[in-house]
């Protein structure tokens, strides 16, 4: 017989290993896909873009300002993402930082756009006109993206809650122990409170900034001379930009948690040998199947997050 110690299957990565898992998973492959897809979408949009000379001057100026703001926000978010994930990750605090970096980048992105919306130029002419049109968040935000964002926030928060409830005392691993207490295993990284708490805060901060921008968009001054359709398109584009990045960051974070949580939970089986025969014990087939499904769902969600990032806003027509 073997003693109970040999039936313990602890596999909790040390901080450096955890960061190694988090960093590339969140960045390398997605960034490559994003760059290729983004270049394709950008080329397609530029080819179909209505030249500024065919638009009324204020409309062209508003479109230019919107595009410049979008670029500035993306530059800030991209820089934050690269810096946050490239720092030497030699402590658990650093791994937490890596985990919240996509959300921090999305928050910075939303903040830059919000400042741009709040400083949108006011009309200065002597004679000014305005349409007597009622504008609202519902009318000025793309409905599909709005629903996708709400869903991604709900999924991310649910994963955080579920991870917190399932994790062991460390908050960054999941454990299992046989009924007889002789076999036990622990796996990590797992999205317990250690990761879930800062991520949940990040999700809520991004949601707050996104909501502030969505509320601001209908109330910013209209581009002088723009008809209802053009004005609506400019506003929807502004709402689209923030929703696109906030949805992608939130969904990507939830996806990473699902993949890591699923993989950790899937590996809780304990194997041991007695007299040359291998024995296996663990949480059961249903648990393993569910964990695998969760990890796969996370992978699908990660792809969806990337796809959202590449959805272009409706363009202004001449």
């Amino acid at each position: 017989m073997i003693d109970s110690m040999s039936r313990v299957n602890d596999r909790v990565l040390d901080p450096t290993e955890e960061a190694f898992v988090f960093g590339p998973l969140l960045l390398a492959a997605p960034l490559l896909l994003l760059l290729v897809g983004g270049a394709g979408v950008a080329g397609f949009l530029l080819a179909r873009r209505v030249p500024a000379g065919r638009l009324p001057l204020p409309v062209a100026a508003a479109r230019r300002r919107g595009a410049a703001l979008a670029l500035a926000a993306l530059a800030v978010a991209g820089t934050l993402l690269v810096v946050g994930t490239s720092l030497p990750q030699d402590s658990l605090r650093r791994t937490q930082l890596v985990a919240v970096t996509p959300l921090a980048a999305a928050a910075a992105h939303a903040l830059v756009l919000l400042v741009g919306e709040l400083t949108w130029p006011r009309p200065r002419q002597r004679v000014r006109s305005a349409r007597l049109a009622v504008r609202s968040v519902r009318a000025d935000a793309p409905r599909g993206l709005l629903l996708a964002y709400a869903a991604s926030v709900a999924v991310a928060l649910l994963v955080c809650v579920a991870g917190t409830l399932l994790a062991d005392g460390t908050g960054r691993a999941i454990g299992w122990r046989a009924a007889d207490g002789l076999a036990a295993s622990t796996r990590g990284p797992f999205p317990g409170a250690f990761y879930a708490a800062p991520i949940a805060v990040g999700v809520l901060v991004v949601a707050l900034l996104t909501a502030a921008l969505l509320v601001r968009v209908p109330h910013r001054p209209a581009a002088a001379g723009a008809d209802a359709a053009t004005d609506g398109t400019l506003r929807r584009a502004a709402a689209h930009r923030v929703l696109r990045v906030s949805t992608a960051a939130t969904a990507a974070t939830a996806a990473a948690l699902l993949v890591l949580g699923g993989l950790a939970a899937r590996g809780l089986d304990v194997h041991w040998a007695v007299d040359g025969t291998w024995h296996t014990d663990g949480p059961g087939a249903l648990w393993t199947t569910t964990s695998t499904a969760v990890a796969l769902a996370g992978a699908v969600l990660a792809l969806a997050a990337l796809a959202v990032l590449l959805v272009p806003a409706r363009a202004v027509r001449a």
Partner: protein, 130 residues
Amino acid sequence: MSELRVVVDAASAVPVYEQLRRQVTTLTTTGALAAGDRLPAARTLAADLGLALGTVQRAYRELEAEGTVVSRRRTGTVVARAARVEEDVRWAAEGFVERALSSGLTPEQALDVVRGALAVRASSPPARAR
């Protein structure tokens, strides 16, 4: 409704809130705005016109005081009543405007002619029906 516009002249002697009030009243009188139609939020209109929020709020307050609009907590500012203008009166007005402008009058002078006619009407006793 979506293409109705208000125009303000920031350099006019007429206060901007009064310009807004008159135009909204005119739109309800002519039927362009019907009872139940919503007006934009004061904040939205102030942003579009580059005005202080208080200016638009004052115009809305005046409109509410004269019964043209009502403010509701959930739906915002809504047209309360719109005058029913008979079709033939509208045609007569359009015919008059056409004639006045083709004779060389400015819009303001054309309005003066109408005001003058109304003043004469107000000072003379109403005609009896036979």
